[in-house]
């Protein structure tokens, strides 16, 4: 076991750190979380900067236009971006982490040339059309229908939990092309242009009062057959290919970001005097120890990916542990700020030292509830761990 970085890895880190130190302070203020067009502008401008500096598609293979960084370099990349408080992947998430990697592996040369460069440059934004009102954890039961009509598919159905659809150019869409009961065997992957007639998007208001995702209604939307990735009815396998791109680096930024959050909480507790209570210190130390352990687990998963080329099942352990920990960190913050946690509006402290930071606490706590649901619920993660790692029989 070795936690030291090689000379080449340190060089990579140093170059990146210098570049970030140069560009990040010059970035303009972040866009309001409620203003999607402004968020698109901000996020894609950052993506363009990454592209120009040679850091776009850091983990993508060279043939896809990426940098083909090793899993360890990818980890360093995420670590440095977090350390520099660089912008998050934002609206580029689906393109860079889902659709793009799928096209790299499954696309024809024409499809790669058409779709990949705009993703890397931040010119085109993607959204995801996987889940449906009737197909959540059981994704293979999806019913959005695509019927072949000449060189087009005609798509009708409904998708849900689609993020930033209102500013997306394309949607990676899973549709039913087989019989109604064909499950995994009758699904096809399409790149649906979002400017086609028949697409209606209705935002859903979250418990945070924001509109981070919504419902996508598709009524006779015509998608060129040329936009199909892989064969008809082979979309389930095509989708799973993306998972092989995951190299244990998912959610790494969150662990590092949470460490900073915890340190901020300590400063706040010292300011309010809560730090003199042993229970507060012990809770914080416990959460800190858990974050340190997850950071260790992340490095283990990445090391495994570097050795074998696949991340292994450690990802589920990590995802489950982190998402539940984030909720407890949120609860700790709410307990610490007391009554100030009843206000989403930022409050000024009476000690003249400026804002209390309550908005941040409330936001972290409330968003924590989505962590154990999105990207596979904690219950599904436990099933995966029990069945695939521990070999317990399927129910």
């Amino acid at each position: 076991m070795d936690l030291r970085y090689s000379e080449a890895e340190e060089k990579f880190r140093l170059e990146l750190r210098q570049w970030l130190a140069d560009v990040v302070p010059k970035l303009g203020p972040k866009a309001s979380s409620l203003d999607w067009p402004a968020r698109r502008t901000y996020d894609t401008a950052w993506q363009r900067m990454l592209f120009d500096a040679g850091y776009a598609g850091i983990d993508w293979p060279v043939e896809g236009g990426g940098r083909a960084a090793s899993p360890v370099e990818h980890l360093i990349y995420l670590e440095e971006l977090e350390r520099a408080h660089a912008p998050y992947v934002g609206v580029n998430f689906v393109g860079l982490l889902h659709a793009g990697p799928t096209i790299v592996v499954e696309g024809t040369p024409e499809q790669r040339a058409r779709f990949l460069p705009p993703i890397l440059r931040g010119d085109e934004v993607w959204c995801q059309g996987f889940s449906e009102p009737g197909a959540g954890s059981d994704l293979a039961s999806l019913r959005t229908k695509a019927v072949r009509d000449g060189d087009e598919y005609v798509v009708t159905g409904q998708k849900i939990w689609t993020s930033h659809a209102e500013v997306a150019d394309y949607c990676e869409l899973l549709v039913r092309t087989g019989d109604d009961d064909s499950r995994h065997r009758g699904i096809t992957w399409l790149a649906m242009p979002m400017d086609r007639p028949g697409i209606d998007f209705r935002p859903l208001k979250t418990i945070a009062g924001s509109t981070e995702f919504g419902e996508l209604f598709l009524d006779g939307v015509r998608v060129p057959v040329a936009n199909r990735m892989g064969e008809e009815n082979d979309g389930w396998r095509v989708t799973m290919v993306t998972l092989s791109f995951e190299r244990g680096t998912a959610f790494v930024s969150e662990v590092l970001q949470s460490m900073g959050f915890l340190r901020d909480l300590r400063e706040m507790a010292k300011r309010t005097g809560a730090w003199s209570e042993g229970d507060v210190r012990r809770r914080m130390g416990h959460l800190g120890a858990e974050l340190d352990a997850l950071w260790a687990l992340a490095r283990r998963n990445v090391s495994q990916a570097a050795r074998t080329g696949v991340p292994g099942v450690g990802g589920s352990v990590y995802k489950l542990g982190l998402s539940e920990l984030r909720q407890r960190i949120g609860e700790f913050g709410m307990d610490l700020i007391g009554g100030a946690g009843l206000s989403w509006d930022e409050l000024e402290g009476l000690d003249g030292a400026g804002p209390i930071g309550n908005a941040d606490q409330v936001n972290t706590w409330v968003h924590g509830f989505s962590r154990t649901i999105a990207a596979g619920t904690s219950q599904i993660q436990r099933n995966i761990i029990a069945e695939r790692i521990l070999g317990l029989p399927k129910g």
């Binding site: 070795d2 970085y5 914080m284 130390g285 219950q379 029989p393």
Partner: protein
Amino acid sequence: MDFELSEDEAALAQGIRSLCAGRFPLERLRAAEGGDGLVDAEGWTELADAGVFSLQLPESAGGIGLGMAASSVVFEELGRALLPGPILASHLASYLVPDAADGAADGKVMVGAVRRPPTSGTEAFVPALVEHLSSLGVLIVVGDDGLAAVDPADVDAVRIGRPLDPLTPLWRVDELPEGRPVGGAEQARRWRRDQAVLGGALLVGLAAGTLDMAVAYAKEREQFGKPIGSFQAVKHMCADMLVAAETARAAVHAAAVTIDQPGVGDPERAAAGAGLLASEAAIKNGKICIQVHGGMGFTWEVPAHLYLMRARVLSQAIGPVGGLAELVAELY
């Protein structure tokens, strides 16, 4: 950076696992329940020959000259095997206080350790409980400001009739002798730190052992015409055990490597966090293991309780989890 076990580390773990399975199977250990809770002298020598006590003693002093990472994989296996005896203190003494622990490295002398009870606070009224006293050649008393070596013959002790762990005999000592100083505050700090990591490794072994037991039982035990492991309520308990064990294992390994490789992190913080999470994982998994076994889990026959009680013993040895958590908070 490669945080997977190296080939050598994996081979070392495998070697210890085979040694334990062949030489110290649980049935044999259980035959000694309520006795001195030891492997026989020959067995202790075999452990010494396998390097269990001399792993971190420098080669120039006749040891193997490895570090905490190697020790952590070895101690996880010893924990998994429920190996009794003062293995941890004998190991620590061989490289931390070699002058006071002559014969520990080659298995000729067993070394024990006990924390000097605080003179004030809630724990001040509890007498010291010393493990394995009758077998010890030396007892190391770990204080806040230093380490002292005590001759067990000088200790006025009363044997506890029913120790919580039937494989860890205990003696009540109302007054610990001052002993001979063998290390200052820095040595004492190192002792506590390394003890938290390697005690943590033993605890991870316990957590992994109960996980294996619970999963094996869940696959075999049938109710409602199916293995109980096919029910999500049981599956999820097992999954939680795995998360606890894997997270604690990563923490223990990271702490060990952080001590071995200066500059990769804060060893004190890593050690305290590792001890804390390993304690919790072992106790939690012991508890769930009993639950998964149902009524059988509450019987003496099923060894789930042995893992849980050992977890309590080790958790006490490495320090109260509250103190470990406060240390992490301070260093964060």
